[in-house]
Each structure stands twice: as C-alpha cells, then as structure tokens.
C-alpha cells in the first residue's frame, strides 16, 4: 500500500518538499548542536531539561488520539468512529516518532543511545519510557497497517488482530503513566512530586490528543473530499470536553493542596509561574494566557449547542490546545526546576537553535503523518468510501460480497 504515497498532485509534492526543507534546516541546526554541544540551548546546570523534553511530554499526550477512538469503537462497538480510527492511529505513530526524536536530540551523547538497551536498568523510568513508547509506536503501525490492508482487500480484519487492539488500548495508558513517572518520583522537585501526576497526564492527553486530531480532520475536510461524519466529530468533541474538565479539576486540586497547606516548598513553583518569584516573572504572561484560553475553550465547549457548531468548534479546540500546550509543554518543565535545590531562581529561555531543531522535528513528524494519511485516504478513495458516512461503510462489504 505504500505505493499510494508515491502518486499525488503537485500540491502534495510541494508540501512534502516544504516539509523536507524545514526538516533539513532543523537537521543543520542539530549538526551545530552536535558539534558545539548542548551549550547552544538555553539549558543550564540548574535547569537541565528544557524545550525538547517539554515537547516529548506534550506529544506523548497527542499520541492519545488513537486510544480515544479505538476504545469506544472496539470495546463498545461505536461504529461512528470506524472511519477515523486509522487517522488517530497514524497520528499516534507520528507523535511517538517525534517523542523519540526529541529524546534523541536532547542527549549529550546520542551515539551512545543504545547503552539504554545494552545495560537495561529496570530501576530507571527512562528505560521503561523507551520500552513503552517504541512498543506503542509499532503496535499502532502494525494494527493500522493490517486494518487498512484488510479494508483495501474488502475483507474483515483477521480475528487475532482483536487481541493486539486490546493490548494497544491498555498500552496507551502506560505511555502517559510512565512518562508521568519520569517526573513524579523525583525527590526535592515539589512541582512534580504529586501522586496525581499520571492522572493529570492522562486527562490532559485525552483532551489535547483528540483535539489536535479533530483540528487536523477539519483541515483534511477542507483540502480533500474526506468526510469524517458529524456524529463522529460531535462525539469526539464531547470526549474532549469531559477530559478538559477533569484536567482543570486536577490542576485545581494541586493549587488547593499547595496553598491551603501553606507549605512554601509546594507554593513556590506555582507562585513563580503565575506571579513571579524573587523578581523573576518571565513566564507569568504565558500562564495567564493558558488560563484564559482554557476558560474560554470550556465556555465554548460545555454548551452542546456551541460545541456542535462546527464553525466555532475549531476555535474552541485551538484555544484548548494552546492552553494545554503552555501548561504541559512549558509550564511543567519550568515549574519543576524552579526554585533550584538552593532556593534560587535560574530562568530558562529556549534559544534559536533549540527552536530550529524543534521545528525540524515537527516537520519530520508532519512528513510521517502526511505519508501515512495519504495512504489511508487513497485506500478509501479507491473503495469509494472517502466521502461517505461511516454508517454506510458496512453495507459496502455486503453488497460487494
């Protein structure tokens, strides 16, 4: 089926070339980092993780786009999702690929990457994060490919595939949980030392992952004749709304625990993020933009009338993605390292090479996504189901047989 990706309109090839160009620029910036070391980044002795690990943290959440479609479809036989599951699975593949790339560009000695495999360390969460991310990527690739191949051949997927699908549903929870454990178990990092870190990761993931998927589906519907079906979009939007409510609820639990207890160690990271600490306050505007974005997105998403208005929905989802990105993609890292173990503040700002490498990795992710979605859409086009409603897809097999 990969040959489907080799034929396309001039716009398709121009898009691939543009992405390839951006990825190449990112690659050049990475070569500079490789030669000069991580000194080209804004990270320091006191803030030893930065933008790269922040992207990993957020993109693990985007990979949740698959499970929020697969779980209702296969555990609860919700047929409206059948058509867009493949898009969610392929988005998960691109997201996890970007996660792995961000970890790799973050390493001081990337040529020794396989020491993680050669010297397995069950005590280390990073070891398990490598395991769960790679397995999840290959699970989605395997399931997506077999499903698409079966669809192309107009047969039902093989019976044994069901067990891999069940495994991938459970595995999806593990990638967020293990990534949360990267942070949750470190002594002395008050912002991260919370038992509900994994739960917050899951809630944030189930809000932002499907939101990004829906935004991309809207884009897809605009530039191609693909139709996801209103029922599917509305249900995903409802799932996103509930997940975002839970996400904000969890964050408020953290605020309450820190400020009601009055313990300075728990308060300082949140104070730094929202009003500044010891005169350092560069992230305060971003955090309040996140708060406003989250509140406004919920105002637009909670009333069903507004939520099901597909003209307003993309803006609500955009605000939600912006809010969760600032909270999880930036605030979590910066908050965890502030104040330092000496109760001082060392501010972190991503540098231009850092941002170039980040954009380069995103371009590679977009390349992967473009090729995979191209294959999926061409298969549906061949079957004649690209513009049809999901409920009619079942009949196609019966009539053909």
């Amino acid at each position: 089926m990969l040959e489907k990706a080799l034929k396309g309109s001039p716009g398709y090839w121009i898009w691939l070339l543009v992405l390839g160009g951006i990825a190449s620029i990112g690659m050049l910036a990475y070569v500079v980092q490789l030669n000069m070391g991580l000194t080209v980044t804004g990270m320091s002795r006191d803030v030893s993780w930065g933008f790269y690990i922040a992207q990993l943290t957020y993109l693990v959440g985007v990979a949740a786009s698959a499970v929020m479609l697969v779980l209702p479809a296969y555990f609860h036989h919700y047929k409206a999702f059948k058509k867009i599951i493949i898009l969610g699975e392929f988005l998960a593949i691109a997201s996890v690929a970007m996660c792995i790339l961000f970890v790799t560009v973050d390493l001081g000695q990337p040529q020794r990457l396989f020491n993680v495999v050669l010297h397995p360390t069950p005590n280390s969460v990073l070891f398990w994060d490598m395991v769960v991310l790679n397995v999840y990527m290959f699970l989605n690739l395997f399931i997506g490919w077999v499903t698409l191949e079966s669809e192309r051949n107009r047969v039902a997927p093989p019976h044994w595939l069901k067990y891999f699908i069940y495994l991938s549903i459970i595995w999806a929870f593990s990638i967020h949980t293990v990534t949360a454990f990267l942070y949750a178990g470190l002594p002395g990092r008050h912002y991260w030392l919370t038992a509900i870190m994994a739960a917050r990761f899951l809630a944030s993931a189930f809000a932002s992952g499907p939101a990004i998927l829906l935004l991309l589906v809207f884009l897809l519907q605009k530039i191609t004749e693909f139709r996801a079906g209103d029922k599917a979009i509305n249900t995903v939007a409802t799932i996103i709304t509930y997940a975002m409510c839970v996400n904000i609820f969890f964050y408020l639990l953290e605020i309450f625990t820190a400020y009601y207890s009055g313990i300075p160690g728990h308060q300082h990271p949140i104070t730094y993020l929202f009003s500044g600490l010891h005169g350092f306050d560069q992230w305060v505007p971003y955090m309040w933009v996140a708060v406003a974005g989250a509140a406004l997105s919920l105002v637009l998403l909670i009333p069903a009338k507004i939520r099901y208005n597909h003209t307003v929905l993309p803006y609500a989802l955009g605000l939600l993605v912006l809010a969760t990105y600032i909270d999880k993609g930036i605030g979590l890292i910066v908050g965890g390292f502030t104040p330092t173990p000496f109760e001082t503040v060392t501010e972190y700002v991503p540098t231009i090479p850092e941002l170039m490498i980040t954009v380069g990795v995103y371009a590679i992710g977009a390349l992967i996504l473009t090729v995979l979605w191209k294959v999926a859409l061409e298969v549906k086009r061949d079957l004649g189901t690209i513009g049809e409603k999901p409920e009619d897809v079942e009949k196609l097999y019966v009539s053909k047989l």
Binding site: T41, M43, S48, Q109, L182, G188
Partner: protein, 268 residues
C-alpha cells in the same frame, strides 16, 4: 568422487564435535556470580593492597575551622586542579565538584529569618553527598552513575553516560554538572593533571569522593588541603575519626527529610 565426499563429511563432523566439546570445560569451570554484599568488601584483585577501604565512606566538615575565603579557595582549587575540572565562566555552563554557598542556600529547609550573625556571614562547602539512597543512581537509564556496593561511594562512568541529565533532575542537592560544551579549552594546560582524565562534551560529572586517590592509599584532595577542617573516614567504624567527631559535636545534614541519607555531615 562419492568416497571423497564421505571422507570430507566425516572430517567435518568430527571437527564440529571437537569444537563443541572444547566449549564444555569453560562453561563447567565458571563458578557463576556470587551475590555481592557490602560486608564482603571489594572483589578480590580490584583494588591495590595499599588502598584505603571502608564500608561506608563519610565526610565531616568543620565549618568553624575554615579560616576564611582563601582557605575555601585552597580547598576548592585542590579538588578542581587534581581532577582537571574546567573553569567555565558564567553560571549557565559552569562545572563544579565542590563550591561554597550561604547557609540559607546550603540548608534551605533550615531557613530562618533571624539567623545568627556569624552564620549569616559564613560560607559552607557543597559537594556530592554520596547518599546511602542516591536518587541519581535510581534514575540513570544506563547505570553510568552507580553506587559501589562495598563502600557506598557514588561514581560516574563517563564512558557510558549518554547525557540525558536525568540524574541532574533527580538530585535534590544540585551536586551534578553537565559538560554542555567541550570542556578542554577551559582547562589551564600548565596545571593539567595527567593522573586524571579530562572529560568530553555531553557527559555529567561530579565529586567522586576521590575514589581514585583512595585506591592509591591517599585521602581526598579536599581533605588534605583543608588542614583539619574536613574529616574523612568510615562511618561504620566506631573508632574512625568521623565517628569520634560526630560523637563530640552536634552535626546537621542537607535535606534529611528526603530520606536520601547524605554521607556529608556539617559541624557548624
């Protein structure tokens, strides 16, 4: 022709059998890996005869015996010079194994607004605490940072380090430094110590309690330079210098509430 082939197969079969048999004595002779315990001491042959050994190395710092800033500099330079620690300007990429800071920064959980004036003006030495329960060892994905079973020293294997900096995030004392850039241009060539290797870009480094000097029967460089302000010895030996000092003086440790059990004791 068929006779030749039969002879060849006969010889090949006998050769394969011989190769298989030769592997058996080596496998049978392997006694396996006995579980290593701290009380057993270092594995035979890994340390020279004159090496200093202990079951739990610990350090006591008498801050009151420090004579002034020059004394601190003397101690810090002794360590950094011996270990070729680069002197990188600025705070961002700086590398340090031992350094000084104020009371409130060294012991933030013991912070008080009305600190005694002498403590307010005092500086305190900071270095790796070589915890009994080191979080950095727990999180390292390659075992590049590990704790020696027989004496509790936490050491870095810089050749295995992938530079993920998880240990820096995990260390609640800020004891670890990362080589963000190539450190060698920042080392004074005239003072280069050929006994200890320089590092390279992209690895973490920190105080190693002078494990390589202990192996040669020498005390840590900072202890020698401290002229009695720092004591180093076996915490498990009731007759050791450190135990004697701790018996006679009140001491504190950094961030004891985290349960890491630091091995550096401060006598104010």
């Amino acid at each position: 022709m068929s006779k030749t082939r039969r002879d060849f197969l006969k010889i090949a079969g006998m050769s394969a059998l011989g190769l298989g048999c030769s592997a058996l004595p080596a496998a049978a002779a392997d006694p396996g890996h006995a579980p290593r315990k701290a009380a057993q001491g270092p594995a035979p042959g890994t340390l020279p005869d004159n090496a200093l050994t202990a079951t739990h190395w610990a350090m006591v710092i008498f801050t009151r015996r420090i004579k002034g800033p020059e004394h601190f500099d003397h101690i810090i330079n002794a360590c950094h010079q011996y270990h070729n620690v680069p002197e990188i300007p600025g705070h961002k990429d700086e590398i340090k194994w031992i350094w000084t800071d104020s009371f409130n920064h060294t012991f933030p959980e013991k912070e008080t607004h009305f600190l005694a004036q002498d403590l307010e003006m005092m500086d305190f030495l900071l270095l790796c605490n070589h915890c009994e329960n080191p979080p950095c060892v727990r999180v390292c994905p390659t075992k590049a940072t590990f704790q020696r079973d027989h004496d509790g020293i936490v050491i870095m294997d810089m050749h295995r380090c992938i530079g993920c900096r998880f240990c820096m995030a995990a260390c609640p004392y800020g004891a670890r430094s990362f080589n963000f850039a190539n450190p060698r241009p920042y080392i004074d060539g005239a003072k280069l110590n050929p006994d200890y290797p320089t590092r390279m870009r992209g690895v973490v480094e920190k105080c190693n309690f002078c494990a390589e000097r202990l192996a040669k029967g020498q005390m840590p460089a900072c202890v020698e330079a401290s002229e009695g302000a720092m004591l180093f010895g076996d915490l498990d030996d009731p007759n050791s210098e450190v135990r004697k000092a701790l018996r006679e003086n009140f001491s504190i440790r950094r961030k004891t509430t985290l349960g890491t059990q630091p091995s550096v004791y401060y006598i104010i």
